[in-house]
Symmetry: C2
Subunit: 321 residues, 2 copies
């Protein structure tokens, strides 16, 4: 499919792409470039690529697909470095969680003749680093592409085919829309999880130790989300501010109403909300986006719970009360 794929950065996502490309035979050559020598050594010892270099500019020379697989905050510096070496006709893409900011920052720096098509594979695991990757990471997960309105259709189709070959479902949308949808599906949930864990961190020591002791009653699941990489998440909130504040505003309006229902003891209002929320969960199950266990994007047996199973009908998937 490609002659030479250059992967700039080789963490969980980059190394999973490398393994998938190798497994499916999607490129003649894989070039891997990292900033740190030790990461490059690790990639080499894992046999993830064909060529290894600390020089990103050298990595992209002659590549017909270049994918940035580093944190969004590093893109600008990398781009300044690689822009002169990008081959005419090459596709330049990335895997970052925020897209509007990427388009604004990198768009003006892309040389004429290079097809810039930002991307975001919605997949991950609780692990990180080159050794954590695996070829099946993208199987049945979504990958969102945000080509600009004037983007070359053939290039967009080729990148779509590439992600499909890796096992993904692909959807194209505008960068701003991506950022709004991800704000409510991912960014605000993480912000809330960080916040409640922070509230506990500020409790007096005696109560805090009890919270930890009895954390299995619901709180523990929030700490799992709130243990994600601090720098990556800081960058997400710095670069997707508008959409996050918009969705957080809606969340807070609703929470004010629910807080009032608790304060005045409005049982019917609470029961109504708690019942309506089950419909959303059923929709997720129907859409095949739910699994019996959190899978961090990994394929596994019984990947799709069917709607209307006794589990969901009787009780839903709640925590210990």
């Amino acid at each position: 499919m490609f002659q030479r794929i250059a992967l700039i950065g080789i963490g969980l996502i980059g190394s999973s792409i490398a393994r998938g490309v190798r497994l499916k035979g999607l490129a003649r050559e894989i070039v891997i470039s990292t900033r740190k020598p030790e990461t490059l050594d690790e990639a080499r010892s894992l046999g993830l690529g064909d060529l290894y270099t600390l020089d990103a500019r050298q990595a992209v020379a002659g590549a017909d697909l270049v994918i940035l697989c580093t944190p969004v905050g590093t893109y600008r510096k990398i781009m300044d470095d690689i822009a002169p070496a990008l081959a005419p006709g090459a596709i330049l893409s990335d895997v970052g969680s925020v897209k509007g900011h990427v388009v604004e920052t990198l768009g003006p720096l892309v040389p004429a003749g290079v097809h810039f098509i930002p991307g975001h594979p919605i997949a991950g695991t609780e692990h990180s680093g080159p050794a954590a990757g695996f070829a099946e990471l993208f199987t049945n997960r979504w990958c969102i592409l945000t080509p600009a309105s004037g983007a070359d259709q053939a290039a967009t189709q080729k990148l779509t085919d590439f992600w499909r070959a890796l096992g993904s479902n692909v959807e194209c949308m505008e960068a701003a829309h991506h950022d709004l949808v991800l704000a409510i599906t991912s960014h605000v949930p993480h912000l809330i999880a960080y916040n409640i864990v922070g509230t506990v961190a500020d409790l007096e020591a005696a109560t805090q130790s009890e919270v930890i002791k009895f954390s299995a009653s619901g709180f523990r699941d929030f700490t799992r989300i709130a243990a994600s990489d601090p720098v990556m998440w800081r960058d997400i909130f710095l670069t997707n501010r508008t959409a996050v504040l918009e969705m957080l505003g809606r969340f807070l309006e609703d929470l004010a109403r629910l807080q009032r229902a608790v304060r005045v003891g409005d049982g019917p209002a609470m029961e109504d909300l708690f019942t309506r929320t089950r419909a959303i969960r059923r929709s997720i199950i129907t859409a095949g986006q739910e699994t019996a266990a959190p899978d961090f994007g990994r394929p596994h047996e019984n990947a799709v719970s069917l709607p209307g199973t006794s589990e969901e009908r009787d009780h839903g998937g709640g925590e210990d009360a």
Copy 2:
């Protein structure tokens, strides 16, 4: 340990107690009482008890341990029914998620000579009903007892031994303190999860369908919590209002500060919070309250992740970004 245990209600918790009592030989006789005939039939066909009756008063006659295993909202009515039949010297307990309200409501109705010791086993699964129970549900989970200050020490010790025999760790505390700790570990997390799922339920249809499609990026885990039984949770918020509002108030103060950090782009403040929250997660792992996978209280292999494993050190357990 007991001559006759009467279980009023035989859902997940009640049936797990019945199985545990049978397995460990903790009572000569198990009497099961339910309101609905079909639930009683199910319990009988599962062989969970020795005697079955729709008459709760008859069930508690001659029992030296009575445990209410129904929703908290039903307690008052059951108590009016059984009070005259409770044997002197018997222990009366329950398994509800709220304790102050139970003490206030039932305390004055307990006949002299009956030892009233409310309890809360912090254990559960995503399933419900008599068939969902299993003897190991309480293994290594906490059970909190909230005896009044004047409670009989021998009775409290006997109930403690009972729960330890079922595999639980037991801790005694005041009812009001239980409610405050559970407000932040369980009730507010559920309120927040219900709220954000409600926010999505109010989004315009087009965006909502995309939220469902891309829910694996974090939102999905909130829907799992927000699919819990609406009536049970309504009752929790109706009966633990003060503690829930106190902890929700702290959460909202912190969220206002974090919202401002996002708005003004205060990267260091965000990174500081997102780093501090990891310490709480490490404490949970150190306390043996975390498991590699959500286990809904079930025992399994590798129940305790050790602190400082590469998984936690490198990345924590975040979701796809």
